[in-house]
């Protein structure tokens, strides 16, 4: 299987703080890659850099062989048409109806007839199990439904890759499972590649073909779910088991804390 995304030596700084510290990985066609890690490990920054919401400071993000990190804004927009993204809070446009939300990328990027767009919207909503919801406004539907509408919108242009930012966040376990199921179903049915950022281990092991684990801006583990489970790496072990004691410390000293905020030496 060929790689559709290749990340090479990706670095990102916020001021003097290094958030991404030389990240390397690739995503192969048709697989579901889960990026996991604790809060503040850089996984959201990584995702935002992959889709071009943040500018990488160094390194390459090759999506279908084109470098997202160094492309012009026009070029980035061209690359963006080839992938979809599901945001943590769904990010539906509240002024538009559910149908108009899903239709938006089609209206913006194609010259299709209104009638054809209407049919495509119907099909996409059916794929996520929301037949007949077109005329409702986002505030009239539940959080889980919003996520499904957002998923329908993300796949409106039949992208080859879909990025998911914490797909189960803020949902009850059953709805979160429904979203996971949809994700796996769509990946298989539409032969899409999925990149999922999450910290929920149950969901991660359920959906992943491969996983990478981040800690302090570095990849500390990668492999199949089985390999991750059996990993001897102490960071990976602690995270997978959710233990308080281990190399990932939550009992930080004031010096540590200030250092993490300001970076470098703070002269204490």
């Amino acid at each position: 299987m060929s790689a559709v995304i290749q990340v090479e030596n990706l670095q990102k700084w916020f001021g003097t703080r290094k958030i991404l510290d030389g990240i390397n990985f690739e995503v192969r066609e048709g697989e579901t890659l889960v990026i996991m890690g604790g809060s503040g490990c850089g996984k959201s920054t990584l995702l935002r850099t992959l889709v071009g919401l943040l500018q990488a400071d160094e390194g390459k993000v090759l999506i279908f062989g084109e470098d997202m990190a160094h492309a012009s804004e026009d070029k980035k927009n061209e690359i963006r048409k080839k992938f979809g993204m599901l945001f943590q809070g769904a990010a539906l446009f509240n002024s538009l109806t559910v149908g108009e939300n899903v239709a938006l990328p089609l209206k913006e990027h194609t010259s299709l007839d209104e009638e054809i767009i209407r049919i495509i919207v119907k099909v996409k909503l059916e794929l996520v199990g929301l037949t007949g919801f077109e005329s409702l406004k986002p505030y009239q539907i539940s959080g889980g439904m919003k996520k499904r509408v957002a998923l329908a919108r993300a796949i409106a242009l039949d992208p080859k890759i879909v990025f998911y930012d914490e797909p189960g966040a803020g949902l009850d376990p059953i709805t979160a499972r429904v979203i996971d199921h949809l994700l796996m179903d769509l990946t298989k049915k539409l032969r899409m590649t999925s990149v999922v950022v999450t910290h929920e281990m149950n969901s991660a092991f359920r959906i992943a073909d491969r996983m990478i684990m981040l800690h302090q801006g570095k990849v500390v583990g990668s492999g199949s779910p089985q390999e991750i489970k059996e990993s001897k790496d102490p960071y990976v072990q602690q995270f997978v088991r959710g233990e308080i004691n281990g190399p990932i410390s939550f009992k930080e000293t004031k010096e540590h804390y200030l250092k993490s905020i300001f970076g470098g030496d703070v002269g204490l």
């Binding site: 919401l53 061209e78 963006r80 990010a91 446009f93 509240n94 938006l104 913006e108 919108r153």
Partner: protein, 270 residues
């Protein structure tokens, strides 16, 4: 003493630097606005979203027409009373109509209408775009390959640039009418005489310079309110702060630019 002075200088320096950064970003947005309004359609890209533009026009007109009428009518009435108070001393109450119409069209109509719009429409633009920013909707647009400037900024600025001069023209008329009502009822002036005074004193330039000013104010309100909306950070609190800043900054910009515009009209186009 020296320490205090140096602290003061550092504060002034830092604030000046922040101001320059803000001005730089604002002019960057202005550049993007011009590009997406004029250059991008020529390059075959979709610039203005017509549907959204019409929606904004209707929203702005509907939202503010009543309040603009109320405020300009009051200002016209007050102007008539205050003018009569002074003119009476010279036995020239007759000229109240002339004073009201000229002040209204040259100065008060544009400025009062613009301030009302800055509070009504400018604030709602900042709050709406700011909320979209906080809820990742602006990021969602970007990842869909839809640049936020032509989608969110261009329709709003263009709508306000068209709607504000229209509202100003209507406001001028209503203000003159407010003065007229006071003139004939409160000051005991003859209706025909008042109207003749009103329109004899008025020349097209009075109206045109007023409308031209309102266009400048509209662009400023549009740029500031969209810029403040797009630069919101930090949740609901950030939206509130940005909305307040947007209104305050718009009003300051209106008054300062009014001073400049009036100077230009006075000295360069007398």
């Amino acid at each position: 003493m020296i320490a205090r002075l140096s602290h003061f200088l550092v504060t002034v320096g830092r604030n000046t630097q922040l101001l320059l950064i803000e001005v730089g970003r604002l002019s960057n947005l202005a550049r993007h606005f011009l590009y997406w309004t004029f250059a991008a359609p020529l390059a075959g890209k979709q610039g203005l979203r017509r549907h959204s533009f019409v929606q904004q026009l209707i929203f702005m007109g509907n939202e503010s027409v009543f309040i603009v009428f109320l405020v300009t009518a009051s200002v016209g009435a007050v102007l008539a009373l205050q003018a009569a108070y002074q003119l009476r001393q010279f036995g020239a109450v007759l000229y109240t109509g002339a004073l009201v119409s000229v002040s209204m069209t040259r100065e008060l109509g544009p400025i009062v209408t613009s301030i009302v719009i800055a509070g009504r429409v400018g604030a709602s633009i900042t709050a709406e775009i700011g909320t979209m920013k906080v809820q990742e909707e602006v990021d969602a647009l970007t990842t869909m390959g839809i640049p936020p400037v032509p989608f969110l900024v261009v329709p709003r600025i263009l709508a306000i640039a068209i709607m504000l001069p229209c509202l100003t023209a209507l406001g001028d008329l209503i203000g003159i009418f407010g003065g007229y009502l006071i003139g004939i009822s409160g000051l005991g002036l003859d209706s025909n005489l008042y109207l003749r005074q009103t329109f004899e004193a008025l020349i097209p330039k009075d109206i045109l310079t007023g409308i031209a000013k309102s266009f400048v104010f509209a662009i400023l309100i549009g740029l500031i309110s969209t810029y403040k909306g797009l630069s919101v950070e930090g949740g609901a609190e950030g939206v509130g702060r940005a909305t307040t800043e947007s209104v305050v900054l718009s009003i300051i910009a209106i008054i300062v630019s009014d001073c400049i515009c009036t100077g230009v009209f006075y000295y360069i186009f007398p």
